[in-house]
Symmetry: C2
Subunit: 194 residues, 2 copies
Amino acid sequence: MAQDRRTVIMEAAARLIARRGVRGLRIEELAAEAGVSNGLIYYHFKDRAGVLRATLEFINNRAERYTAEHVAAEHLADPRAVLEQTLLLEFQDTAEVRENSTAWGELRASAMFDVLLRADLAEATRVWDGEVADLIAAVLPAVPGDRALEAAQRLTALLEGLSGRWLSEGLTLDRARALILGAIDGELDALGRV
Amino acid sequence: MAQDRRTVIMEAAARLIARRGVRGLRIEELAAEAGVSNGLIYYHFKDRAGVLRATLEFINNRAERYTAEHVAAEHLADPRAVLEQTLLLEFQDTAEVRENSTAWGELRASAMFDVLLRADLAEATRVWDGEVADLIAAVLPAVPGDRALEAAQRLTALLEGLSGRWLSEGLTLDRARALILGAIDGELDALGRV
DNA sequence: GTCTATAGTATGATAGAC
DNA sequence: GTCTATCATACTATAGAC
């Protein structure tokens, strides 16, 4: 099916953000990448900030979708396997994952100086932390909610840190995967011992 | 002592980078912040990239100094206390720490799109990981080096992740401190059990 | 909805006086 | 070394035709 222009623009924005960063995103360049006119972008998104907001949401939805798809495709019954796969999914050398991770890192960095981005990013982070906490609770039902959330926040924050190092060539993919697996192991071990 | 203009400008640049980011640094605004003229900045630093290069070096030197000073000032007999304080040092709401953490985050983010930055950043990361691994080895001398380094990488990567969330207002300072302390606890526990 | 053309402005950089 | 004044351009955003 032919995609509507709005989606085409957001896909192009995701690619461009992965290549040049949020700071390097130019409306004119985005128009060229998407194969549309300059003006159309303003028609659909109002202004540059609107493009960024929509693209963040788009990337988020896409990430959720591929996570769900992947978990479903693998027929993962074991809750621990679901937890591991969900986090490992962020360390794959595919265009989509690279785009998502890069864009996420960029948005995080931009939010340090852009108050408007903060609310959306904080909310997305809250949801993501909650989902991981739920996965932990599925593995260890006896663990109190606040302890599960604490472990989840550490795992997702670690994931962001490792992702940043991977994308800046400070860490190999295999090493990043090993480190996150070790962290899951450690957190579950500690929680299980309570 | 009265500082020379060059230093005054770099100090002002550090403040502005913490407020607006590397990309948000405007020469005109920098001139106002430093209390000098527009042209003087070009006289001393040649161009915008020159300002950035000099300022990042300036910030790096300053960070090394305050870390060394702080660890020396607190009479730290207990190796574990040294490890905890070293990592907690990055979670303080002081201008210097904020400026340094912000600049580090900016550097990491920029390295994703700038190949030239990667080598320096990777080396700095390697040194930092090694120092933390040494601190872990001081707490638990029986632990093999590769296990200590693994734990160290997880802790420093987690620190970067938490730092990003703190600076983008996604996490309170207290929460970040609690999470990193919990991680130190978990890593040392796991290593001690081997 | 989509395009072309352009206005408005912010910003990096330079020239030249002192 | 330092300042004022100004140029050149890159970028966001809007207007108006189709």
